[in-house]
C-alpha cells in the first residue's frame, strides 16, 4: 500500500486542503480514501429517533470533527459504530465497515482490536490501578493475558518489557511520567483525559475516536490536548472527534460533519460549514433572525406566513417518516 507516502504528506496543511477540496460539501459525500463507511444506521429509544444516518464516509489520515447541538445523537452514533450499542436497523440494511472490514455484528472489543479505538465523554480511568497499569492494559495481543500462559513468565516477560517501554514513552509524551506509580483515581479530570488518550494509543490504532476530549479541561491543557491530537494526525492516524467548542473545531479539524436530530445535515471544510444554512438552523433554530420583540411582525400577514412555514415543515416531516 502507498499508505506511508500519502499519510506522510498529509502532515502538510496545504496537501490536506487540496485533498478535501475535491470532496463535495454535501451530507454523505464520498471521500477519495475513506477508512470508515457507514450506511443506514438508525437507533430508536422508544418513540424517539436518536440516530438516523443514511450514509457517511470518513477520510483516512485527517481530523474529522463531528459537531451538533445537544441531543443531536453524536455520542449514540459513536456507541453504535464502536459496538457499545446495537442499531435498531440491525439486519435491516444497517451496514458499516472499517478499513475494509465489515463491522455489522462485531462486539466492542473486536472493534477495538480491528484498530478503531475510542475514548469516553466521561473518562473511564481504572481508578484503583496505577497509571502504569492503566497504560499496560492498552497493549494488544499480550501473551500474558492468556490464562494458559500467564503462569509461565518466560512466555511473556519479553513482551512485557516492550510494552513497558512503549508505555513509558507515551506517558512521557503526554507529560504523565511523574504520575506513573499513582493511582489513576487520584488524577485530575484533565490528566484523566490525557491518560485515556495515551492508553488508547497503546494499541497502535488506525483510527482514534475521541468523545468530547476537551470537556471540562482547563484552557492551558486544551492547548496541549489539541497539540497531541494534531500530532496523532501527523503520525498518520485518522481522528474522529465529537466537540462542542467551535473554536477548537475550526482550529484543528480538516473536515466537519454536522449532526442534528440524529441526521447528518451538513459536511464541509471547517471554515465554510459554519455558514451553511442547515448548520445555522440546527444550532440557532430556523427562525433565529425573526425578532420576536418586533411589533411590526405581529401583523396577520406575518403570522399567516409563519403558520404556512410550520405547515410546510410538518408536511415535510410526515413525508420523511412515511
Amino acid at each position: 500500500m502507498s499508505d506511508t507516502t500519502t499519510t506522510a504528506s498529509l502532515a502538510d496543511p496545504a496537501v490536506r486542503r487540496e485533498l478535501m477540496s475535491t470532496v463535495e460539501a454535501t451530507p454523505g459525500s464520498s471521500k477519495p480514501d475513506s477508512i470508515l463507511n457507514v450506511d443506514h444506521i438508525t437507533r430508536h429509544f422508544g418513540g424517539i429517533t436518536a440516530v438516523d444516518v443514511g450514509h457517511l464516509e470518513v477520510q483516512r489520515g485527517i481530523i474529522t470533527a463531528l459537531i451538533g447541538p445537544n441531543g443531536a445523537g453524536k455520542t449514540t452514533f459513536f456507541n453504535l459504530i464502536t459496538g457499545f450499542d446495537r442499531p435498531s436497523s440491525a439486519g435491516q440494511g444497517a451496514h458499516w465497515s472499517f478499513d475494509g472490514r465489515t463491522l455489522d455484528r462485531t462486539s466492542a472489543s473486536r472493534v477495538a482490536r480491528s484498530g478503531m479505538v475510542r475514548t469516553f465523554q466521561l473518562t473511564k480511568a481504572l481508578s484503583r490501578m496505577t497509571v502504569m497499569d492503566n497504560m499496560m492494559l492498552g497493549a494488544q495481543n499480550q501473551a500474558g493475558e492468556n490464562l494458559a500462559k500467564c503462569l509461565l513468565r518466560p512466555l511473556w516477560g519479553g513482551q512485557e518489557k516492550q510494552v513497558e517501554t512503549k508505555a513509558l514513552d507515551l506517558l512521557d509524551r503526554f507529560s504523565l511520567l511523574e504520575k506513573r506509580t499513582d493511582y489513576a483515581g487520584s488524577l485530575s479530570g484533565g490528566q484523566r483525559k490525557l491518560l485515556e488518550m495515551a492508553r488508547a494509543l497503546m494499541s497502535d490504532p488506525k483510527m482514534i475516536m475521541l468523545d468530547e476530549p476537551m470537556a471540562g479541561v482547563n484552557p492551558a491543557l486544551t492547548q496541549s490536548l489539541l497539540g497531541h491530537i494534531q500530532s496523532l494526525r501527523d503520525d498518520g492516524m485518522t481522528v474522529l472527534f465529537v466537540e462542542h467548542d467551535m473554536h477548537v473545531v475550526r482550529h484543528i479539524s480538516d473536515w466537519v460533519v454536522v449532526m442534528a436530530e440524529g441526521k447528518i445535515v451538513a459536511e464541509g471544510a471547517a471554515g465554510e460549514v459554519m455558514s451553511n444554512q442547515a448548520v445555522i438552523d440546527a444550532y440557532l433554530g430556523a427562525h433565529h433572525d425573526t425578532d420576536l420583540g418586533d411589533d411590526a411582525l405581529l401583523t396577520d400577514e406575518t403570522l399567516e406566513k409563519l403558520a404556512e412555514e410550520v405547515a410546510e415543515e410538518d408536511a415535510e416531516r410526515k413525508e420523511e417518516q412515511a
Binding site: R118, S127, M129, L137
Partner: protein
C-alpha cells in the same frame, strides 16, 4: 493461669486445624472472584459442597483418589460454566442473586430424600459419613500411627513454664505478626522477592513460637491428625503460590481492569466475558479444593456447607483485606481463632461456677457470633480495606 493456657491451646488447635486451612483455600478462591475481578459470588459454599460431593461420591463408587479429586474439580468447573454463561453478560448484581440461589438449590438437592438414586448417593441431610471416603487418603500417610506433640520442646522446659516466659513469648508473637502485617502492607523498604521471603520467614518464626507457647498434641494419621493438617496447609501454600503467579501476570492485571470498568476494558479490545468466566472458574476450583479438604476430616453434610460458610468466607476476606495475596489466609486465621477465643473465654469465665455463670454452652457460641458481628461492623467502619489492604484504594469511589 491454667484457664488461660487451656484457652490458648484451644485457639492453637483451631489455628492448625485442616478445616481452617480448607476454608482459607476457599477464601483464596473467593478473593479471585470478589477481590480481583469484582464478581459478587455469594455462593462459594456451593462450589465447596459440589467439590466435596464430587470427591466423596466418586470414592464411594470405588474410583481411585486422583480420579475422585479430578471429579470434584470437574463438577465445580461445570457449575461455574452454568452460573457464568447466563449472568456474566449482565450487570454484577445478577451474579450475586443467581449464585446465592444456586447455592441454596445445590444444598436442598443434596439434602432431599425424594429421589431414591440421589438419596443413595448423597445420603440426604445425614450426608456421607467420612469413614466411607477417608480411607484411601488416610492410607497414603507416611506419618505412621501414634501421637506427636508439636513442639516437644516447649514453654514448660524453660524456667518451669513460668508466667514471665509465656507473657514475654506472646508479646514477641504479637510483635512478629505486627511486623509481618507492616511488611505485607508495603510500609517497609522491602520489595518483591525480599518482601515475600521476609513474610514467609516471620510467619514461620511466629508459628514455631506459637507452638512453643501452646504445644499441640494430635494423632499422626487419624481424623484431624497431623497428616490431614500437613496436607491441608501444603495445599494452602500451593494455592497462594498459584494466586501470586496469576495476579502478578498480565492476566491478573486484566482481572483488576474488569473490576474497575468493564466498558473501558472493552474499548481497549479485551474480551471481558472471557476474563470474567476464567476468573469465576479459577476461583470456583479453589472453592472445590477447599470443600474437599473441609469434608476429609468430617462428613459431607449439605448443611455444614451452607450460606454461613459463604458469609464466614466474606468476613475472613474483608478482615484480611480483599485483593491482597496474604489477606485471605490471615483473615481466615483471625476469624476462626478469634471466634474460638471468645467461645473458650465465655465458656471459662461466663459459664462456670468458678467465675460467673450466666450462660450455657449453646449461648456462649451465639455470644461469640454476636461479638464477631460487632467486630465486623467496627472493621467495615474504621478499617474498610481490611488488615492488609491499601488505604489509598479507598479514596476513589468505584
Amino acid at each position: 493461669m491454667d484457664d488461660i493456657q487451656n484457652i490458648l491451646q484451644a485457639m492453637m488447635r483451631v489455628a492448625v486445624s485442616p478445616q481452617t486451612a480448607a476454608v482459607a483455600i476457599a477464601v483464596i478462591g473467593l478473593n479471585i472472584h470478589f477481590g480481583y475481578t469484582g464478581l459478587l459470588n455469594i455462593g462459594q459454599s456451593a462450589f465447596m459442597l459440589l467439590g466435596a460431593y464430587g470427591f466423596a461420591i466418586s470414592i464411594t463408587q470405588g474410583w481411585p483418589l486422583v480420579v475422585a479429586i479430578l471429579m470434584g474439580l470437574l463438577v465445580a468447573f461445570v457449575f461455574a460454566l452454568v452460573l457464568g454463561v447466563p449472568t456474566l453478560k449482565l450487570r454484577g448484581d445478577y451474579l450475586a442473586i443467581v449464585t446465592i440461589s444456586a447455592a441454596e438449590i445445590v444444598r436442598y438437592v443434596g439434602r432431599s430424600v425424594g429421589v431414591e438414586w440421589l438419596f443413595d448417593l448423597t445420603g440426604g441431610a445425614q450426608g456421607i459419613p467420612g469413614s466411607q471416603y477417608r480411607g484411601s487418603f488416610t492410607s497414603l500417610s507416611p506419618f505412621g500411627s501414634g501421637n506427636t506433640t508439636i513442639l516437644s520442646f516447649n514453654y514448660t522446659d524453660v524456667a518451669g513454664g513460668s508466667v514471665v516466659v509465656r507473657l514475654l513469648g506472646w508479646a514477641v508473637v504479637i510483635g512478629l505478626i505486627w511486623m509481618a502485617v507492616r511488611i505485607g502492607r508495603g510500609k517497609t523498604s522491602l520489595e518483591g522477592t525480599g518482601r515475600t521471603a521476609a513474610i514467609i520467614g516471620i510467619s514461620a518464626a511466629t508459628i514455631l513460637l506459637a507452638f512453643f507457647l501452646a504445644p499441640t498434641g494430635q494423632q499422626n494419621t487419624g481424623v484431624d491428625g497431623w497428616w490431614f493438617t500437613f496436607i491441608a496447609w501444603i495445599l494452602v501454600g500451593i494455592s497462594l503460590l498459584i494466586v501470586l503467579g496469576l495476579t502478578k501476570s498480565p492476566w491478573g492485571r486484566a482481572l483488576r481492569g474488569v473490576r474497575e470498568d468493564e466498558d473501558a476494558m472493552r474499548s481497549l479490545g479485551k474480551n471481558v466475558f472471557a476474563i470474567k468466566m476464567q476468573a469465576l472458574i479459577i476461583g470456583g476450583l479453589f472453592g472445590a479444593l477447599g470443600g474437599m479438604m473441609y469434608v476429609l476430616p468430617a462428613t459431607v453434610q449439605p448443611d455444614s456447607l451452607g450460606r454461613s460458610i459463604t458469609f464466614f468466607a466474606y468476613t475472613a476476606l474483608l478482615l484480611g483485606g480483599a485483593a491482597t495475596i496474604w489477606g485471605p489466609v490471615l483473615g481466615t486465621l483471625i476469624f476462626y481463632v478469634g471466634r474460638i477465643f471468645i467461645i473458650a473465654s465465655a465458656n471459662t469465665y461466663l459459664s462456670s461456677d468458678k467465675y460467673i455463670n450466666i450462660m450455657n454452652s449453646q449461648q456462649t457460641s451465639q455470644f461469640a457470633f454476636i461479638l464477631v458481628g460487632v467486630a465486623l461492623m467496627l472493621l467495615v467502619i474504621f478499617r474498610p480495606q481490611g488488615i492488609l489492604g491499601d488505604k489509598r484504594e479507598l479514596r476513589f469511589n468505584v
